[in-house]
């Protein structure tokens, strides 16, 4: 049984906030996911390897080479606040 506290815990991990009503909806939605899980539980997957990626190619190693990177101004152009060429956030260490 999924409780409201469970949902609040997940919202906390996901860094999202919800209204009371929305939280109630999620208790139902999560129950539905468990239904999905119950459905696939019936499949025998003994000795079956998981497929993370459909590709069967091994990743390749790159040689070290110098590449152009983005300019500092380009990296910073989409942030809301910047200072001295850095992203500005609030003080986290006293």
């Amino acid at each position: 049984m999924i409780t409201k506290d469970d949902v609040l815990h997940i919202a906390d991990i996901a860094m999202l906030k919800f209204t009371e009503e929305e939280i109630d909806v999620f208790t139902e939605k999560f129950a539905q996911v468990i239904g999905f899980v119950d459905t696939i539980k019936e499949v025998n997957t003994e000795d079956v390897e998981p497929t993370f990626m459909v590709s069967d190619e091994a990743g390749e190693l790159k040689d070290y080479e110098e590449n152009e990177t983005l300019l500092r101004e380009e990296v910073l152009q989409n942030t809301v606040e910047q200072q001295y060429g850095y992203f500005k956030i609030i003080k986290v260490v006293e």
């Binding site: 949902v7 815990h9 997940i10 919202a11 991990i13 996901a14 860094m15 999202l16 906030k17 919800f18 999620f26 939605k29 999560f30 996911v33 999905f36 899980v37 459905t39 696939i40 539980k41 499949v43 997957t45 079956v48 390897e49 998981p50 497929t51 993370f52 990626m53 459909v54 590709s55 190619e57 990743g59 390749e60 790159k62 983005l70 300019l71 380009e74 990296v75 152009q77 989409n78 942030t79 809301v80 606040e81 992203f87 956030i89 609030i90 986290v92």
Partner: protein, 482 residues
């Protein structure tokens, strides 16, 4: 002559024969867009001035008898989750409302290097999550065939723009059907290539092991034109495949050759049993199969035993990857930042809560739940194992067959705000497109007629990196029925 009603390859031919200029092509499309957009809303951002400048540059090359690229002079729409340098890229979300990418996606570089002309960024479901383009922060796109109905989604803007002759070609992305289903709803061609065929560098990830860039066009030949321009291995995307470099898309394009003769066609009996409750759609499909049969294809019934678990498997994997991929939106480096917060955690949480729409938050929550401590093994890992079985089923099917035929969707484009009350029908409507992404196969949706005046798509699926088979089948069918 209305240039906008031509196929892309016809425009290109006329351009190379100097019957029309690239400027003529772009101007005709801008005019069309200005007339059509108020009713359709297929674009989020337009790039008219830059498009005209690029057209001039292409015309100059032609005047100087310089070589031009395969997409020379063609106006192209780009789904707004593919980054374009100096051109706003929003993912149809408040989160990225003002995001200005400092670089081009590899597919954009390739289009530019092929002398294609990017005319604008197309509307979509927010972060590509949805099947109707109704969840866009910038308002829904309407289906040009019937403006009271959805264009499908999530690449609804791209499909609608192509269908309304606003562009001859557009790019979309397909995670569980997001190119093929809107193609079916808008009566155009939608190609989802094999996972790894096209670079995802610069494509905003939704579910990174399922996402693939796809193509929308008004004919199979046009889709192939674009595929040739953008396919290929990319060192910037470790999941792009070296096999994509050697892929051959059409063996023989001579019009007098019967491309369907000897084609080994499979019909999964699971789909036959499932069917659709719309008898008219079923009749169209049965007739399409008969076209293949008459043209000399060999039709076989096969079984994909784990198909019945595909939707659940997809749902668990997709939401898990969504929750992980969308963790990057923290309000610090880019994207919406909340005005009010007292701690760093509050900055993250408030920015995300304000920036994401309802459907996006719902999927992040479900994915976070599936991946949370104590459930990851039971939910996510289990789904990955079933994924292996689904993939093996398809591998077996393609030992003796070239293509699998099915519907693209079991339902017709529906009216806005209509909740489909039949959960079984809603469930079935995704069941034809989703397994293809789970197994990483290639697949194309092509128009196979209309029911009650609304378009219906035929889905042709092939093995990984066997695009040439689905293209052959699609071209052969297109020629047989036209």
């Amino acid at each position: 002559m209305d240039i906008t009603s031509l196929k892309a390859w016809e425009m290109k031919e006329k351009l190379l024969n100097k019957e029309i200029s690239s400027k003529d092509i772009v101007e005709a499309h801008i005019k069309k867009i200005e007339e059509t957009e108020p009713n359709i809303n297929a674009f989020i951002t337009l790039n008219k001035e830059e498009a005209l400048n690029t057209a001039d540059a292409v015309d100059k090359k032609l005047r100087n008898n310089e070589d031009v690229g395969v997409l020379a002079g063609l106006p192209i729409g780009i789904k707004d989750n593919i980054v374009t340098k100096g051109m706003r890229t929003t993912c149809a979300s408040k989160m990225l409302e003002n995001f200005m990418p400092p670089y081009d996606a590899t597919v954009i570089e390739k289009i530019k290097n092929s002398d294609g002309i990017i005319i604008g960024k197309t509307n979509m479901d927010e972060f590509a999550m949805g099947g109707s383009t109704e969840t866009s922060y910038f308002g829904a796109t309407k289906n040009p065939v019937d403006p009271n109905r959805v264009p499908g989604g999530s690449s609804g803007g791209s499909a609608a723009a192509v269908s309304a002759n606003e562009v001859p070609l557009a790019l979309g992305t397909d995670t569980g059907g997001s190119v093929r289903q809107p193609a079916s709803y808008c009566g155009v061609v939608g190609l989802k290539p094999t996972y790894g065929m096209i670079s995802r560098y610069g494509v905003v990830s939704m579910a990174n092991t399922l996402d693939q860039v796809g193509i929308l066009g008004r004919g199979v030949k046009d889709a192939v034109l674009m595929l040739n321009a953008i396919a290929g291995h990319d060192r910037k995307d470790s999941t792009s495949s070296t096999r994509s470099n050697s892929a051959v898309f059409i063996d023989n394009d001579k019009e007098n050759i019967n491309l369907l003769e000897g084609l080994r066609v499979a019909l999964p009996k699971e789909y036959v049993e499932l069917g659709t409750s719309n008898k008219k759609i079923q009749t169209l499909f049965d007739e399409a199969v008969k076209v293949f049969e008459r043209q000399g294809s060999k039709i076989d019934f096969i079984s994909i035993p784990h198909l019945k678990y595909a939707l659940e498997t997809y749902y668990i994997i997709m939401t898990s990857e969504v929750s992980s991929n969308l963790a990057r939106f923290d309000g610090i480096r880019y994207g919406h930042r909340a005005e009010n917060y007292n701690t760093l955690d509050e900055l993250y949480t408030n920015s995300r809560t304000e920036g994401f729409g309802e459907e996006v938050k719902r999927r992040i929550m479900i994915g976070t739940y599936s991946l949370s401590a104590g459930y990851a093994e039971e939910h996510y890992k289990k789904a990955l194992k079933v994924r292996t079985l689904i993939k093996q089923d398809y591998d077996n099917a393609f030992i003796d067959h070239d293509v699998i035929l099915s519907l693209t969707s079991t339902i017709l484009p529906f009216e806005f705000n209509s909740i489909i009350n039949d959960p079984v029908e809603m469930y079935k409507s995704d069941l034809y497109t989703v397994p293809i992404n789970v197994a990483g196969l290639c697949s194309i949706s092509i128009p196979m007629g209309k029911v009650d005046g609304l378009p219906v798509g035929l889905q042709i699926t092939g093995d990984r990196f066997m695009e040439k088979n689905i293209i052959k089948a699609a071209l052969g069918y297109e020629r047989a029925v036209l």
